[in-house]
Symmetry: C2
Subunit: 362 residues, 2 copies
């Protein structure tokens, strides 16, 4: 497949030189955009948006029409996989995602099977194909999935959780069942991401939103291990890069970097300079502005963006930085601040490159 016109994002992930630091934002197609809210109102529900490829394509492209972002990301939900396993995903008004059926005992675990992405997840694969066509090679398209552990959290809890009581009770009482769940999830995620890549995704990201809830030791066994299993199962005909993002995983950066991924995503608690030193030349780094920094005045947004770039430090052969937030953008974000942010990242990162060329070295 041909390279996109703007391949800065892919080059940064491969730790090749770029003219500026590429930027995209987690949940960049979302409720802070009035046009997104209009599309969602027309669709009738969030799930209808996800399940209708034309609508998923429409909202995927919305932020790109506003901002010179360096990548598009498939609009979808992280819970499509357990839904495809037959657990019955639904959204209770103002309550977040829920499942009709939970997976808390041996019988429920025995019933789990890897869904066929071309059947049960056909709507996602069709969306990828539609979006890739509509992008017409402007910027790369990122596919994604929840991590095996993060999916397991929702499958066992039956929805969001503050304390992860049910999933951790299962983990501590029946580690054998928990292993089985994350193993099946890993195979499902690998098949799902392979299908997305085949349909046109040029990079993929694994969202381990709840890895940071695990104890040291349990993280390695029940989250990072299964992520490695996903990585091992990926066919990447064009060496499509893989980003692994464990929110709250700063403590395990070194181990994540050793997993075989191409980039590690980091949240805002991590100092990018330290992360870069820890990760070394093994991976690119994606992150890590606090999404709430976008609630400030435009000049302050610029200053915070510059701070993130400077924390990462001077561009250098073998180091790659993809600018992003440390988590999804807030629905309360003023859209104009996103324009400021993207511009600040582009402008300042170009300046850093000029500075780097005129300085002897760092």
């Amino acid at each position: 497949m041909s390279q996109p016109a703007n391949d800065t994002f892919l080059r940064a992930l491969r730790r090749e030189p770029t003219e500026h630091t590429p930027v995209w934002l987690m949940r960049q197609a979302g409720r802070y955009l009035p046009e997104y809210k209009a599309s969602r109102a027309r669709a009738g529900s969030f799930l209808a948006l996800c399940k209708t490829p034309e609508l998923a394509c429409e909202v995927t492209l919305q932020p790109l029409a506003r901002y010179p972002l360096d990548a598009a990301i498939l609009f979808s939900d992280i819970l499509t996989v357990p839904d495809a396993m037959g657990l019955g995903l639904y959204f209770a008004e103002g309550e977040g995602p829920k499942f009709e059926r939970t997976v808390r005992d041996e019988a429920a675990v025995r019933k789990l099977a890897v869904p066929d992405p071309s059947v049960e997840l056909r709507y996602v694969i069709d969306a990828v194909r539609t979006i890739r066509g509509a992008l017409a090679g402007r910027v790369p398209l990122i596919g994604f999935s929840g991590s095996p552990w993060t999916l397991a959290c929702y499958m066992v809890e039956g929805g969001g959780s503050d304390d992860f009581r049910h999933v951790k009770t299962l983990l501590y009482r029946r580690p054998d069942l928990m292993s089985r769940i994350v193993e099946i999830n890993a195979d499902a995620v690998a098949a799902y991401l392979n299908a997305q890549i085949e349909a046109g995704a040029q990079a993929v990201m694994i969202f381990d939103s709840w890895g940071g809830a695990l104890a040291d030791g349990a993280y390695q066994r029940f989250s990072l291990g299964p992520i490695r299993r996903v990585l091992a199962g990926l066919k990447r005909p064009n060496d499509e890069p893989v980003i692994v993002f464990t929110k709250g995983g700063g403590m395990w950066l070194d181990e994540i970097a050793a997993s075989g991924c191409d980039a590690v995503g980091v949240d805002w608690t991590v100092n990018l300079g330290k992360a870069r030193a820890m990760v070394g030349a093994r991976c690119a780094i994606q992150g890590n502005l606090d999404p709430m920094a976008l609630m400030a005045e435009p000049a302050q947004v610029r200053a915070e963006a510059i701070k993130v770039l400077e924390d990462f430090g001077a561009p250098q052969a073998g180091a790659g930085h993809v600018f992003n937030l440390g988590h999804g953008i807030s629905q309360h974000t003023p859209p104009d601040n996103v324009a400021e942010l993207v511009d600040a990242v582009h402008q300042h990162s170009r300046k850093m490159r000029v500075r780097g060329e005129s300085a002897s070295s760092l």
Copy 2:
């Protein structure tokens, strides 16, 4: 003041040799105990429990009657200080703490003043005195406070929060006001802890429950800096040790250890062996079992406790470990599992000491 009969906890905090690893549990007086629920029902509300010294004393002692814990901790709420500032703490049924008045603008910040612990917080100081008397020197009594930043979160948000939007908006837009809030809080916390120490607290702990929500840089400025200000303001006539616990602060362990505290509390995402190596001989370490490990079978609880002890490693001159959970105990914990835990910590840590004496060295 005389040493308690069991001063293992204080010696571990001072990194002196102990016969076993001392253990206490955050929220050890709490809803998992039927006798606590009975006291609370009699009191009528959680706040009445906190505000009546005899009742606070009664529930503080309950876990000690059941388990051979090595320390008692004052039963109180972390939000007593902003309540004493006049913000009007209340508990909405099933919703957690709320404040009648929030602190979100210049006018509200200007009104803040450091409360006099002997007046507005008299009920806490009286509780400390009552508990200290009732303990009759059996084990040490720990006093505590929320950290300046954690208090600020509740003061600005007006209650709990998922995204800390209001407090972070203020932080990013008006860092001057945020600095002022945490400065006043730091002085209030110092006065509060000094009064607790004067009334009989033999160690104090600063709970920075929400420090981990901050970005790198913001944490140092708005949480750890004010904690250092608290430490500087403490009078400790008998060198009463201070424990600083930033939940989600594993990334900043080195900086916390350099703050001048005697012990750092760590949550379960931190590997205790790594933490020990990072902290070195500067501080003791408190932690860090995942509270949800207590939902397992008794034998599994023992195994998880042993894992924490072994992660910390062999007892050694200059190293101190206080066993605890990585956060508060869950209300769903089977009380018998706490007995297993405490026994496992005591038994296994004694074995480790015998092993250490018979081995040449580590």
